[in-house]
């Protein structure tokens, strides 16, 4: 699905308001009579057009998220994602990009705490720190078919792991925990579900939002889907031993 189709399905008349380079913001609607709490309104933020997430984008987004968090409605926040990785420049690192990205992640989590349920919708690319600070910091991340998440581009991976590009390519077929792509991120538990583009998007998002509010389910999803065999039991054992010890 294109951004225009997604926005249209969320009843955007104006296509969203630009918030800065590669960013949009606006108020959507999940539809009257849908199983949504509140009046169906939803705050929509987007990191779009394949932009890299740098200091400039992160501070604009976190400002918007905090503004929404301070509004006394309980309208949820939906973050649309078609971006690249974090901005890999000397300037962004000099300025402390890690603080800006972490601040955005914290803002999303605190907005949720303040009553604005959060969801991410991945419809294009997203990678590495940019995905951690946005979609993976919402309460539930869903995707549309054709989305292309990855952790790092293969050239950088080859350099850091000191493996050849060929050797890395060979692993992509067999290794869920390693290889880029939407299917693997679903099996790992990072993406909750893949939406159906032929069905109305608004009601599917409303339904997904209704499931949020419990604890972090991702490690259990990763276990059920045979993507992460150990994470759920390890985290549970460590937590239980400390709390009960």
């Amino acid at each position: 699905m294109t951004l225009a189709e997604i926005l249209q399905s969320l009843l955007f008349a104006d296509g969203g308001v630009p918030l800065g380079s590669g960013l949009i913001t606006g108020l959507g609607h999940l539809g009257v009579g849908e199983p949504a709490r509140g009046d169906g309104r939803i705050h929509v933020l987007g990191v779009v057009d394949g932009v890299e997430l740098g200091v400039e984008q992160a501070i604009a987004l976190s400002g918007r998220v905090l503004h929404i968090a301070e509004i006394a409605d309980d309208a949820p926040i939906l973050m649309l994602l078609d971006c690249r990785a974090q901005c890999k420049t000397r300037r962004d690192e000099l300025l402390g990009l890690n603080e800006y990205l972490a601040h955005l992640a914290k803002a999303l989590m605190v907005a949720d705490q303040e009553g604005h349920r959060t969801a991410g919708l991945l419809y294009g690319g997203a990678a590495a720190g940019a995905l951690i600070a946005t979609g993976l910091a919402t309460s539930v991340l869903v995707a549309l078919p054709g989305a292309t998440p990855e952790v790092m581009d293969f050239a950088s991976m080859a350099r850091v792991t000191k493996l050849s590009l060929d050797a890395l390519q060979q692993k992509t077929d067999s290794m869920v925990a390693f290889a880029p792509g939407l299917g693997n991120l679903v099996r790992i538990g990072g993406v909750c579900t893949i939406l159906r583009p032929e069905q109305p998007l608004a009601s599917q998002i409303a339904a997904v939002l209704l499931c949020t509010g419990g604890g972090d389910e991702r490690d259990r999803l990763g276990l059920q889907r045979q993507g992460r065999p150990k994470a759920a039991s390890i985290a549970r054992r460590v937590a239980a031993d400390i709390v009960n010890g």
Partner: protein
């Protein structure tokens, strides 16, 4: 849980040179550390075998309980000497479990970072593990626990690790610390050597080093490269209040906006230091 204690390392122990276990032993009150899910449990990475790589019985992180200055804390230490302290499925889950316990008990927690970030051989698992750690960390802070990060190890604190660090209540760094989302090699391979020469040690330190981070407000306490200095700084950090609220984040927003407006046009650290 293990309680066999190695001899306490000297106060002058170099934080940069020390192992994760030496750092813990030197940081906490004598013989107070009790490890959870220690190496005798042999909970190793289920993914490294596929790359014909060796595993480590603790997957490169030590977690447990201890006393620090007479105060009960939870503690985690990454082992930079095992795969660069990278965050894989098991490594990440141990830290997530510790932070979930911190939230339940409202227990202050100290994280000794030494990591290159997500372990690329299990990239998807590591990426989601970082996301789980962040959520557990923020939940622990919202519940009222402090989370103190200490950085000054050989592997620095990069990638997802740098986001975890920036979510802490406060950070202690030494001059040897390096903090960044994209490490020098990643920037160079992505943008070219003109953008960042990863072999230029001086450039690495003045862009990502502990002193620069401290000067721009990215770290709260500065320590010498000794266990005694890190211990003293950690105790100071544990004495500070550190509520995480919407108001805290609003102040943080202003601080980061101000930094971007004032320093966003500079391309090298000396110009920034002159402007501060």
């Amino acid at each position: 849980m293990r309680r066999d204690h190695p001899p306490r390392p000297p106060e002058s122990l170099s934080w940069f040179e020390a192992s994760a276990r030496q750092r813990i032993a030197a940081l906490v009150d004598t013989d107070s550390f009790a490890e959870e899910l220690g190496p005798e449990q042999r909970e190793t990475s289920p993914h490294l075998g596929g790359f014909d790589l060796p595993v480590q019985f603790d997957d490169g992180i030590v977690v447990g309980r201890a006393m620090l200055g007479g105060r009960p804390v939870l503690i985690a230490a990454q082992e930079g000497r095992f795969m660069g302290g990278s965050i894989g499925e098991v490594h990440g889950a141990k830290l997530t479990g510790l932070l979930r316990a911190a939230g339940t008990l409202r227990r202050d927690t100290v994280i000794l970072f030494d990591t290159g970030g997500v372990r690329l051989q299990e990239a998807n698992a590591g990426e989601v593990a970082v996301a789980e750690i962040l959520r557990a960390l923020v939940a622990a802070r919202l519940a009222g626990a402090r989370v103190i990060g200490l950085i000054g190890g050989r592997a620095g604190c990069f990638g997802g690790g740098s986001l975890i660090a920036a979510c802490c209540s406060s950070l202690v760094v030494s001059e040897q610390a390096r903090i960044g989302v994209s490490g020098p090699e990643v920037i160079e391979s992505s943008r070219g050597v003109e953008e960042f020469d990863s072999m230029d040690r001086a450039l690495v330190w003045r862009t990502m080093g502990g002193k620069h981070r401290y000067l721009i407000g990215g770290a709260d306490h500065f320590a010498l490269d000794t266990a005694a200095s890190f211990r003293a700084a950690a105790r100071r950090a544990l004495d500070q209040s550190c509520q995480l609220t919407l108001a805290t984040l609003r102040r943080e927003q202003t601080r980061l906006e101000t930094r971007f407006a004032a320093l966003g046009s500079f391309s090298d650290a000396p110009a920034i230091w002159a402007a501060l």
